[in-house]
Symmetry: C2
Subunit: 140 residues, 2 copies
DNA sequence: CTATAAACGATAATTTTTTTCCTTAAATAA
DNA sequence: TTATTTAAGGAAAAAAATTATCGTTTATAG
C-alpha cells in the first residue's frame, strides 16, 4: 500500500491528506498492529512536534470511516490495524506479537444465528497462545 | 449459584467473604454481564456507601483469581461475567444485550495452530449483530 | 475472644481519552 | 495560480477511567 493509495482512500472518505495521517497508515502498514503509544512514537519520529491528541483524533476518524480497525485484546492495550477482509487474530502471551490468519467465520456465524436468532454482522476473534519463536525459546 | 457456593469459591482463593463481593457476584449471576458502572450501581443499592474503588479492586482481584472474566467488546465498555466453560458472546448492536452461547472452538484452534505454529491457550470470540427482539422492533 | 491481616471507604494521584481554541495547512473555486 | 473555505494541527485544559494511599473497620485463624 503506497502513499498514493492511502491518499486516495482518505480523499474517498472526505478526509484531508495530511502528513500525520499518512505516517499513521504507513506505520500500520509496516508493523501490522500498533497501540496508541507505539503510533504516537512512530509519528513523532517523523514529526517531532505532533500532538498525542492528533494521533487520537486521527485514529478515531479513520476508524469511524472504516479505514482502520481497533482490535481489543484481553490483558493488553487495544491495537489498530488497516482494515482488510475479516480475519482472526493470534496474540502471543509471551512476546505480545500479533498475527493475522485468514479464517472463514461462516460456520460460526451460521451456528450462532441458528442457535440464537441473532442476525450477525461481524465477528471479533482473538486467540491467545504462544508463538513458535517463544515456544522455542522456552525450551532452551 | 447461591451465597454459600460463592463464599466457598472466595475462600478457596484465600479471598475474604465480604458483603460487597457477594453482591458483585450475585449481580453478575442475575444479570450475566455488567460493566463497571452497572456493577457499582448494583452494589450501591445494597450498600449505599460502597466506594467505586472497592468495586474496581474487587473485580480486579476476582478476575486475577479466575472467579470472574473480563469481556472486551468492540464499541462499548468491557463487561464482567462469572467464569464458566469457554463460550462465545453475542452482542446486540441495537440494545447492547449480551448473550452467551456454547460453541466448541476446537476446529478454530486446530486450524490456527496448524497454520501458525502457535500453541493456543484461550480464545475470545465476540459476534456482533441484532438480537431477535430488536429485529422485530425494527420491522414495525 | 483476640490478634492479625485483609478489605473497606474516602480521597488523592495517575493514566487515558476527549475537548477547546487558536493557528496552520489542505482542498475547492474563482 | 491565487484566494477563500474549511478541516486539521498543536498546546493545553478538561473529563473520564483506573489505580494507589492511608487510616479505619471487619473477616477469619488461632
Amino acid at each position: 500500500m503506497d502513499k498514493e493509495l492511502i491518499a486516495t482512500n482518505l480523499r474517498n472518505h472526505h478526509l484531508k491528506v495530511t502528513p500525520q495521517r499518512l505516517k499513521i497508515v504507513e506505520s500500520l502498514n509496516t508493523f501490522g498492529h500498533l497501540n496508541i503509544d507505539m503510533l504516537y512514537q512512530e509519528v513523532k519520529e517523523a514529526y517531532p512536534n505532533v500532538s498525542l491528541a492528533t494521533v487520537y483524533k486521527n485514529i478515531a476518524i479513520m476508524t469511524e470511516n472504516g479505514l482502520l480497525e481497533k482490535v481489543k485484546l484481553p490483558e493488553s492495550k487495544s491495537v489498530f490495524e488497516i482494515r482488510k477482509e475479516p480475519h482472526l487474530h493470534l496474540h502471543c502471551s509471551k512476546c505480545g506479537k500479533i498475527e493475522d490468519i485468514s479464517f472463514d467465520t461462516e460456520q460460526i456465524r451460521a451456528h450462532a444465528e441458528a442457535v440464537s436468532g441473532y442476525s450477525i454482522q461481524s465477528s471479533d476473534i482473538v486467540l491467545r497462545g504462544v508463538c513458535p519463536a517463544c515456544q522455542t525459546n522456552a525450551k532452551k
